[in-house]
């Protein structure tokens, strides 16, 4: 596993055949039809929403609860 985060290197996972991933703003941008772009967005949202419905592990909820012990805030707004 690589330590630290390298500067953006789009070519690593980007498409070598697509010059627009080289990071230069002056280069051409990929063009997707609005329909395809909308489908991609919808699919990503469904994927994300499905993950958000997974149960949250109890230990994380208990951890957030510990904020109560750390900070007593008598004045709720």
């Amino acid at each position: 596993m690589s330590k630290g985060t390298p500067a953006i290197e789009p070519n690593q996972n980007g498409d070598a055949t697509n010059p627009s991933v080289l990071g230069d703003e002056s280069m051409a941008e990929p063009a997707l039809s609005p329909e395809i772009a909308a489908r991609i967005g919808e699919s990503l949202r469904l994927y994300y929403d499905r993950m958000m419905r997974e149960p949250v592990p109890d230990h994380l909820i208990r951890l957030v609860d510990r904020l109560n012990d750390k900070v007593s805030a008598p004045d709720a707004d």
Partner: protein
């Protein structure tokens, strides 16, 4: 910034967002849990540094993203408990920058400016990552796949363009 019970409840309510973001970034639910735990521990360490409620989601995502990048946002394609093998795998083939930009803008619904603050870059860069990442996803999965790619009832293996229904 005092933490009142409402503030704390809102943080708890954001846990699913944080887990989804970290899982999509790493491809591994178990790693995501550890990363989210680390982000909350950071808040526990310095409760005074927690953002006000109006910007709590952006603050938590910023802290979480930093932890993901510190660990190295290397996707783990070996373990998929989500039943979303195809789209998860496709996402894992994007660069971390494309992945986070797409997730924040498309899935979290943030504007380019808000996503840019979280990723410590500028809006034009986020926009470019979203465009290039979307085009890349389209290449990977193929236009035919988009009918089913995000569907929760789609069985594994159903998403490839060539597979039988």
């Amino acid at each position: 910034m005092p933490i009142d019970p409402v503030h704390r409840r809102e943080m708890a309510a954001l846990l699913p967002n944080l887990l989804a973001f970290a899982t999509a970034m790493t491809g591994c639910p178990a790693r995501a849990e550890g990363l989210v735990r680390g982000a909350i521990l950071r808040a526990l360490d310095d409760p005074a540094g927690i953002a006000p409620r109006s910007s709590l989601r952006a603050w938590l995502l910023t802290v979480l993203r930093e932890r993901i990048h510190t660990e190295g946002a290397v996707p783990d394609t070996g373990d998929h408990a989500s039943g979303f093998q195809d789209i998860q795998e496709a996402i894992s083939m994007l660069s971390p920058e494309q992945r986070e930009s797409l997730l924040l803008v498309t899935a979290e619904g943030l504007g380019y400016e808000d996503a840019a603050r979280i990723c410590r870059t500028d809006a034009a860069t986020i926009r470019r990552h979203v465009l290039v990442g979307s085009a890349r996803l389209n290449e990977i999965l193929g236009p035919m796949a988009w009918h089913d790619a995000g569907r929760s009832d789609a069985p594994a293996g159903h998403l490839s363009p060539g597979s039988a229904p």
